[in-house]
């Protein structure tokens, strides 16, 4: 199966027919740090992805330093 990663954008090939959570563990990605997208849908970590599937692991972390002093 194909896995699309971002920042930087790249594609990796990993073994399929496994649960999403196992794929994430292999790639050392914490489940809380990504959305898992298959086609037009979000999928949960217990779902099995097939060998011919493509999933996107879209990172959700953003931001720089933010403080709130007076100007």
């Amino acid at each position: 199966m194909k896995v699309l990663l971002r920042n930087p954008r790249r594609e990796v090939e990993v073994a399929g027919n496994r649960r999403v959570k196992d794929v994430l563990r292999d790639l050392a990605i914490l489940p809380e740090t990504v959305l898992v997208i298959r086609g037009d849908d979000l999928i949960t970590a217990d779902q099995v992805v097939g060998d011919t599937d493509t999933i996107e692991l879209r990172p959700v972390m953003s931001g720089g330093s933010e403080r709130a002093p007076l100007p």
Binding site: R6, N7, L30, P31, E32, T33, V34, L35, I37, D41, L42, I43, T44, A45, D46, Q47, R58, P59, V60, M61, S62, G63, G64, S65, E66, R67, A68, P69, L70, P71
Partner: protein, 300 residues
């Protein structure tokens, strides 16, 4: 995995709530969290116009989307930081969002206001890029709101942003920063508008899921200057804690807001003056924004 509310197939698991939701029920959960934030902190009234600071990213566009849907009168503000292709792309996202929903969007260029874009400000000040950028944003958000007659600015800060900021403040025991960390900062001067964060109850994964499910075209690429930012390192640390102990971030932030923050509020109030140059609020004679603009002018 089944939706907690309706039992159909879930699209998102929220471990900290020990729940999973289908798309419609997740969207309703999300809106309810925003409603609760606005209600609890009395962020704004139904008839108050709101300036929504938008960056083109998932959080601020998700916030704007919810507020429009809820029937609030909003105006977007996009600050063009001049960060190469990143700013070109993020501005385009905001303009497309506003045009599709027929809502007003103001655009201000940091270069026009400070004298140089963020990459130049970074090299002139020799400080982390987020420093001059954050200063410019806070100043311009407030000034634009005043100029436009809007009493409140809403930003897309989420639970992860707030937990990471709190973590940074506690790590360095910046006790003066702690009382200022709040989902809603009241106006304490006629020239300071209220600042509110209606997404503070929602994690950034939840805001990303909302944006995805609502088909909001947001910029996924990260700001090139955020790489290596301290706040990102703090977020990564907190994410590992969250993975080991779901709800850790929520408990850290909400525990602070409910139990600890009041203890830091007794610090003496600062005296607010008006900047001798621009008239905006400052604790000194000349505000930090005008000092930054002077520094840029001398160097460019």
């Amino acid at each position: 995995m089944k939706c907690r509310k309706c039992g159909s197939a879930a699209v998102l698991e929220l471990r900290r709530h020990n729940a999973a939701f289908c798309a419609p029920d997740f969207l309703e959960f999300f809106r309810n969290q925003v409603r609760e934030a606005i209600r609890k902190y009395r962020m704004f009234e139904r008839d108050e116009p709101v300036l929504v600071a938008v960056s083109g990213g998932k959080d601020s566009l998700a916030l704007w989307d919810v507020l429009i849907d809820e029937g609030y009168r909003t105006m977007g503000l996009y600050l063009d930081l001049g960060i190469f292709e990143y700013s070109v792309q993020s501005r385009a996202r905001c303009e497309a969002f506003a045009a599709a929903r027929n809502v007003p969007l103001l655009v201000r260029r940091v270069e026009d206001e400070v004298g140089a874009p963020v990459p130049i400000i970074k090299s002139v000040t020799r400080r982390p890029p987020c420093s001059g950028c954050g200063l410019s944003k806070r100043y311009l958000m407030n000034r634009v709101a005043l100029d436009e007659g809007l009493p409140v600015v809403a930003t897309g800060h989420n639970l992860d942003d707030e937990a990471a900021t709190l973590f940074g403040s506690v790590m360095h025991w910046q006790v003066d920063a702690l009382p200022r960390q709040s989902p809603a900062l009241p106006s304490t001067h006629p020239k300071l508008v209220r600042r509110v964060k209606p997404l503070y109850r929602l994690s950034e994964r939840e805001t990303a899921a909302y944006a995805f499910l609502r088909k909001i075209d947001y910029i996924v690429e990260e700001c090139p200057f955020a790489v290596g930012a301290t706040s990102i390192a703090h977020k990564e640390t907190l994410s590992r804690l969250e993975d080991a102990s779901p709800g850790a971030k929520h408990n850290f932030l909400f525990g602070f807001l409910d139990k600890a923050r009041p203890a830091f509020e007794r610090a003496e109030a600062v005296t607010l003056n008006e900047c001798a140059r621009c008239g905006q609020v400052t604790t000194g004679t000349l505000c930090a924004f005008c000092k930054l603009a002077d520094q840029v002018k001398r160097s460019v």
